[in-house]
């Protein structure tokens, strides 16, 4: 770009320290990795969804038309039947289902035996009824299953709401609920039956006209909710008091404080802060940068090459980032050059071996005294 007239020459660039750049790099690297992981996970999920849909379509049983007056008997495999109005029925093996009526106002099935699942098209203007023995299930728009083995009838609701009627008794079942009527009640269960059960009229098909209390099965989510601990549910044991803790300083706090101290010219305080970070939290992301900043201060402002060398050696112990290792080796060469020519040449050789095309090659090559 070639500016014609520019105010930019009067705008100062903010100073970005090496340590701040390294911290920034950590954050950028973390976000790039996360982005890739999310992308990979999204691709896998999309592939699974596509595979599932394809498999579902491939395995889907062909839908047979089902008209009023017809009887569908499933022998060894289930049968999928479709009504002209859009609802779908799956009759399980061994099941027998009759479509007694199907017009704009009412659809009536008679389940003679076995199991049938219904996926009902929502249509408020018509009644949708499944009769199984004396039990009648009414729905508006939902998905549910009715099973009949002789006088025993079970109703399970997968979606929406259904009404189960038996004589004058009406029960509403919502998604996830299950209702069972069995033919042969245990004697003691009569005593447990509620008034409603006792008052209901006998069914002509049952030798013992007693309906069991319905077996309501809660949805899996509710069922799996773990029991709350006694202390939180009014139990006798009170919860132990929370420990009184004061906010612990983090390496980030120490690092920021040390950077502030350095910016304010309080170099010794800054050095102490950086030392604390790399000694107290050696595995934190701030430790290698702290050791490096400590070395820079010791060398550049305190004029203490021995302390600086210790700091840069510490940086090399802690650092995993190649660029920080490169910088630390270069500065370590510089520190040793001031008091230990042998160590200087050793570190110089190490730098040139590891970073032959590094950005400090020229300075490192000239650093050591002859």
């Amino acid at each position: 770009m070639s500016p014609q007239h520019s105010l930019s020459e009067f705008v100062k660039a903010p100073q970005v320290s090496t340590a701040a750049l390294h911290l920034e790099w950590h954050e950028v690297r973390r976000r790039v990795r996360r982005h890739r992981q999310v992308r990979v996970a999204g691709t896998v999920v999309a592939a699974l969804v596509v595979a599932g849909v394809v498999a579902g379509l491939a395995l889907r049983t062909p839908r047979e038309p089902f008209a009023a007056g017809e009887l569908a008997v499933a022998q060894e495999t289930s049968r999928t039947l479709g009504l002209a109005e859009g609802s779908e029925v799956v009759v399980s093996p061994g099941g027998s289902l009759e479509l007694a009526k199907a017009d704009d106002t009412e659809v009536v099935f008679l389940l003679q035996r076995g199991r049938a699942s219904f996926d009902v098209q929502k249509k408020p203007s018509r009644r949708f009824v499944v009769k199984a023995d004396a039990v009648e299930v009414r729905v508006v728009g939902t998905k549910f299953t009715v099973q009949r083995e002789g006088p025993q009838v079970e109703v399970s609701v997968q979606r929406g709401i259904v009404e189960v009627r038996e004589g004058e008794v009406v029960k509403r079942l919502v998604a996830g609920e299950h209702w069972t009527r069995v033919a042969a009640p245990e004697p003691e269960e009569r005593g447990e039956a509620d008034e409603e059960d006792l008052s209901e009229p006998p069914s002509p098909t049952r030798s013992t006209p007693v309906r069991h209390k319905r077996n309501l099965r809660t949805s899996p989510n509710t069922a799996q909710t773990p029991a709350a601990p006694a202390a939180t549910t009014g139990g006798t044991e009170p919860l132990p008091p929370l420990p009184t803790t004061t906010a612990l300083p983090t390496p980030a706090d120490h690092f920021a404080a040390a950077m502030s101290a350095r910016a304010a010219g309080r170099d010794k305080e800054a050095i102490l802060g950086f030392q604390q970070v790399c000694e107290r939290w050696p595995s934190s992301a701030y430790a290698p940068m702290s050791a490096f900043e400590w070395g820079r201060l010791a060398l550049d402002t305190e004029d203490d090459p021995r302390q600086a060398a210790r700091a840069f050696e510490r940086t090399l112990e802690l650092a995993t980032s190649a660029s920080l290792i490169e910088d630390a080796l270069a500065r370590l060469t510089e520190a040793y050059a001031r008091y230990d020519a042998g160590s200087c040449r050793r570190v110089q050789a190490e730098y040139l071996r590891r970073f032959p095309a590094g950005s400090h090659v020229r300075g490192v090559t000239k650093a050591c005294p002859p």
Partner: protein
């Protein structure tokens, strides 16, 4: 002084998936980009976030870069997209009443030897940046602060020359009006 060839080599290595090359590229380019973005948004507060967003966006679609030698220009184009997005978001939040126009702290950014008229102009541009539509604001700052030619602005913003002229004219009109008021 960095060698352009060395940087292109790094970009090629990074495209091939070399993690160290990515880090080297960031460390080589981040300070310059931060300085440039700070001038474009006339404030350093947002610059760091924008630079970080820019590198994340760049490194996650590095394979789409056709010319490795144009890496820095490509970074600036992505950075401008991030700046534009930020300007739009801030403007929307202000319109919805969720944010106020933040005062611009120019003192720390203007060099001590800047003539008073330059300081005044910078302050006016910075004030307008927060009020103009994003593309007008960017066209204005690239022209007034960075001194780009119209063709360069069009290229950087991915707009036609005619559109840049139109937006710049609208921005300049408001800028002149502001100068007359003051």
């Amino acid at each position: 002084v960095e060698s352009p060839n060395a940087e292109t080599t790094l970009v090629r290595a990074a495209i091939q998936g070399d993690a160290e090359a990515l880090e080297q590229l960031f460390l080589r380019c981040a300070a310059d980009l931060t300085a440039w973005v700070s001038r474009v948004v006339l404030g350093s507060a947002d610059a760091q976030d924008i630079v970080q967003d820019t590198f994340v966006a760049a490194f996650t679609r590095l394979k789409t870069l056709r010319q490795p030698e144009a890496f820095r220009g490509w970074l600036r184009t992505i950075a401008l997209t991030q700046v534009r997005r930020r300007f739009r978001k801030q403007r929307l939040l202000r319109r919805l009443g969720f944010a106020d126009v933040e005062p611009v702290e120019l003192e720390s950014m203007v060099s001590e030897d800047a003539p008073p008229e330059v300081v005044t102009e910078l302050r006016q541009v910075a004030g307008l940046l927060r009020k103009l539509p994003a593309d007008e604001a960017l066209a204005l700052v690239l022209r007034r602060v960075e001194g780009y030619r119209l063709e360069e602005i069009a290229e950087q913003l991915g707009l036609s020359l005619a559109t840049v002229k139109r937006r710049l004219a609208a921005a300049e009109q408001r800028f002149q009006a502001l100068q007359e008021v003051q």
